[in-house]
Amino acid sequence: MIKVRGLHKWFGDLHVLKDVNMEVSEREVVVVIGASGSGKSTLLRCINFLEYAQKGQIFIDGVEANAKTKNLHMIRAEVGMVFQHFNLFPHRTVMGNVIEGLTQVKKLSTEKALSQGEDLLKKVGLSDKADVYPAMLSGGQKQRVAIARALAMKPKIMLFDEPTSALDPELVGEVLQVMKNLALEGMTMMVVSHEMGFAREVGDRMIYMDEGRIVEEGEPKELYNNPQHERTKTFLRQIL
């Protein structure tokens, strides 16, 4: 589904991704962990071309894309993204947020978009909030709307960039539940998160990144209980 080959990314002199190679297969849930500054978010953002890697290749469903690719926005549409800070559109209602991509990118009629929007809001348990503005929602509700908005595009893969890090502890569960349901439905997912419970329960593979490199990867329980590298051990000890 996604293949990354020899990816390098620099921010000025800062070398944030160093020869990253990885793959996400269809229906696989990959959890990426690592300290802040390890490059895990940058990797995710490169895969959605919100950042452009200077070197290496990215294949989305077998098709290579980079900064020069024509109609890059159509490739972005196939990759859903959920952000740490939700990034809901404050001037649109909840429903307006969910159908924005449907009416503007998929060019659906408002009627069709609304009916799909209702299904999506039902899926994330927010049918009763369709007409309110994001400012009135809790963080957990906002993130569920953001997930519905990304799902509306029927993406081939969903990227989650620390989806629960900005939430109050009591709101984390509702977002994780929606994500679990998605994983059970067979959605291909790449999740940057330190939610070990989620990783162990629904993750197929866990990747540990440090200083721009993939240090170690493996089955989540295995990696968690029996890390091979010293740095992975130290990191796992720190986040507990």
């Binding site: 972005r76 549409a77 952000f83 990034n87 559109f89 404050p90 924005e100 503007q104 503005y133």
Partner: protein, 223 residues
């Protein structure tokens, strides 16, 4: 009783006689602002372009217009360009005020657009929206809302600045006051009338801007 050199009873008597001049003031202001908004949005967006061929002209325009007095700009358009094109006084006043305000409005829009969080753009792009769609549907509506207070301020300045059109013989409020003041020998009285007119118009404008601000706040309400 002290004998004042002024006859303030002239104020209500002459007040209605400024009606036509007030309309001219409003016309210059309205169309000047309209031209300013179009120019301001265009150059504001150009100014934000990463392409130097596009942002340099915008920067030059803002630099030149903000760095010189409106009075000078009006004189250049009306008197200075006479060998090139002869522009009537009304259009000259509107163009002058429009071009002048365009530079300030461009900076207002630029600031407002830059104040919209990067995440908004990223969320729109991640949905597959094009750069133009993102700008039009996501960034600009939020930027417009944020620019309303500053725009309102600029509109009030434009209304008052329209008085400079008197220097190119547009018979708006100020010139009308000077003419009537001279012929009736009641300069202060006539100038005061004009003052009342300006106060009335700026008050109404302030009220209108306040209403627009309120209406745009619907999406901010929390329960």
């Amino acid at each position: 009783m002290i004998d004042l050199p002024w006859d303030f009873t002239a104020i209500p008597r002459f007040f209605p006689g400024f009606y036509v001049a007030a309309l001219l003031t409003l016309q210059i202001t309205f169309f000047g602002i309209l031209v300013g908004l179009v120019l301001g949005l265009t150059t504001g967006l150009m100014r934000l372009s990463k392409n130097n061929l596009i942002n340099t002209p915008a920067k030059a325009y803002i630099w030149a217009i903000r760095g010189t007095p409106l009075l000078l700009q009006l004189m250049i358009i009306y008197y200075g360009l006479i060998d090139l094109v002869s522009i009537d006084r009304m259009p000259a006043a509107i163009i002058g005020l429009g071009v002048h305000n365009g530079a300030y409005i461009a900076e207002i829009f630029r600031g407002a657009i830059q104040s919209v969080e990067r995440g908004q753009r990223e969320a729109a792009m991640s949905l597959g929206m094009t750069g133009a769609q993102t700008m039009r549907r996501i960034v600009l509506p939020q930027a417009f809302k944020r620019s309303v207070p500053a725009l309102g301020n600029q509109f009030i300045i434009a209304l008052k600045d329209s008085s400079l059109a008197s220097a190119i013989a547009v018979r708006e409020l100020l010139l009308r006051a000077r003419q009537l003041g001279a012929s009736t020998m009641m300069m202060l009285e006539m100038l005061m009338i004009v003052g009342f007119y300006y106060l009335m118009m700026t008050s109404i404008l302030t009220l209108l801007v306040g209403r627009v601000e309120k209406r745009l706040q619907v999406s901010d309400y929390r329960e």
